[in-house]
Amino acid sequence: MAQEPQAIELRGLARHFGERTALRDVTLSVPAGATLAVLGRNGAGKSTLLRILATLLRPHAGEVKLLGEPLPRRAFAVRAQLGYLAHEPLLYRDLSGRQNLRYHAQLHRASEERVEQLLAAVGMAGRADDPVRTLSRGMVQRLAVCRAVLHEPRVLLLDEPRANLDPAAGELIEPLIGRPAGLTRVLTSHDPRSALVEADLVLGLREGRPAFVAQPNQLDEQRLQALYG
């Protein structure tokens, strides 16, 4: 029987910014429907890894396959299947939430009904016509979640997805980006303990190099402290 391709496959992945090595020797596989948590201190390479998977950065060495397609060569083929919740919301501050989402819906061939459905789901229907610059950071984050899942991607890349969200708002976005959504997810978090709860696999990065690739139950406090210490 033919083996189903892994959702994400990295082999010897490396990326530099000038002299600085942002990522080096990253090798792992993430099965479809699983969640990979990427942990590490600030500057460890978490966001760089997400940007490579999002097809926004080219790897300088190694292989990257997303849904069986090699990157960056077949980036165009996977973009429709990818949702990326970046550190920045990727929304125009002077447009309203609805205008922003309709613009992204047009780029991703999603319907206006989907926009309205998402605005209602995250509790933003009432403020959808206000310029984004007038909204609180938590509200902007909820809109950013809508933008990331607008086109119903199969793979979600989540950079600090719950930043700026209170518990109630966190519950609103859970069906969209949480485990119930049933998507392949790669997430970073400033809070390793909450990330471990969600993860099936954990990549620890230290100065761009993998400190470990492990299942959450294989990680103890000591290993986590060593990563952040």
């Binding site: 097809t55 080219r58 990818l82 990326y84 919301p89 990727l90 125009y92 447009l95 047009q106 991703h108």
Partner: protein, 223 residues
């Protein structure tokens, strides 16, 4: 086409919400005409002098739009959001050039009559049709080269400097053709239509740079 219209609509909505670019272009042009009015010490001008002043003023005013064309996209993540979408990247070039072209047309609808009132001796009526054709071709050159230059400049720290430093030399042939074409139109008892060779040069220039921009733009968006 759908992507081009989506990006164009978004850019026009942003301008309508912020009014960051067009009012600055219009005010710059009007102020320049007033400065020339007093600096030249003449009640009216005509012919090649008028054509030169009009063309150079519009060119410099367009630099304000060129410098700002991609700023919101760069500062607010619009570039990344566009690159994440499964769309042809050249749609961004076409949409941005169309937005810049629209800004230039709106500028000229206000600035050219103001030029006629403040500086120009001969009436603008008879040569208006020829001037519209000439300025439309010039606007295409400004829009295409301006978009290309702006896409390069916005990647750099000194983007406000890069735009004029790269853009103005590239636009010199278009400036010459526009000014020489407009000279006979703005002279006393002038022609109703610009000389064909200047129109042909502008059209050829538009075509060459449109093809060049189409070929290069993808590379400018790579990391």
């Amino acid at each position: 086409m759908r992507t081009v219209l989506a990006v164009l609509r978004k850019d026009l909505m942003l301008e309508l919400r912020t009014f960051e670019t067009l009012p600055a272009m219009v005010l710059f042009s009007l102020a320049t005409f007033v400065i020339f009015h007093f600096a030249l010490g003449r009640a009216t001008i005509s012919g090649q002098l008028a054509a030169g002043i009009l063309t150079v003023t519009l060119l410099f005013a367009s630099m304000l739009a060129i410098n700002r064309l991609f700023v919101a996209d760069r500062e607010q993540g619009g570039f990344d959001a566009f690159l994440l979408a499964p769309v042809d990247r050249s749609a961004l070039l076409i949409a941005k050039a169309a937005a810049l072209f629209t800004f230039l047309v709106v500028l000229e609808v206000i600035a050219v009559p103001a030029f006629g009132l403040l500086l120009l001796g001969p009436s603008l009526g008879p040569p208006l049709g020829g001037l519209v054709v000439l300025l439309a071709l010039a606007d295409v050159a400004l829009a295409v080269i301006g978009t290309l230059v702006s896409a390069i400049a916005v990647q750099t720290r000194a983007r406000d400097l890069i735009g004029p430093v790269i853009g103005l030399p590239l636009l010199i042939p278009a400036l010459i053709a526009t000014a020489r074409g407009a000279g006979p139109l703005l002279s006393e008892h002038g022609q109703g239509f610009p000389p064909g060779r200047w129109l042909a040069i502008l059209a050829l220039y538009d075509l060459v740079f449109a093809l060049l921009a189409y070929a290069l733009f993808d590379f400018l968006l790579e990391d």
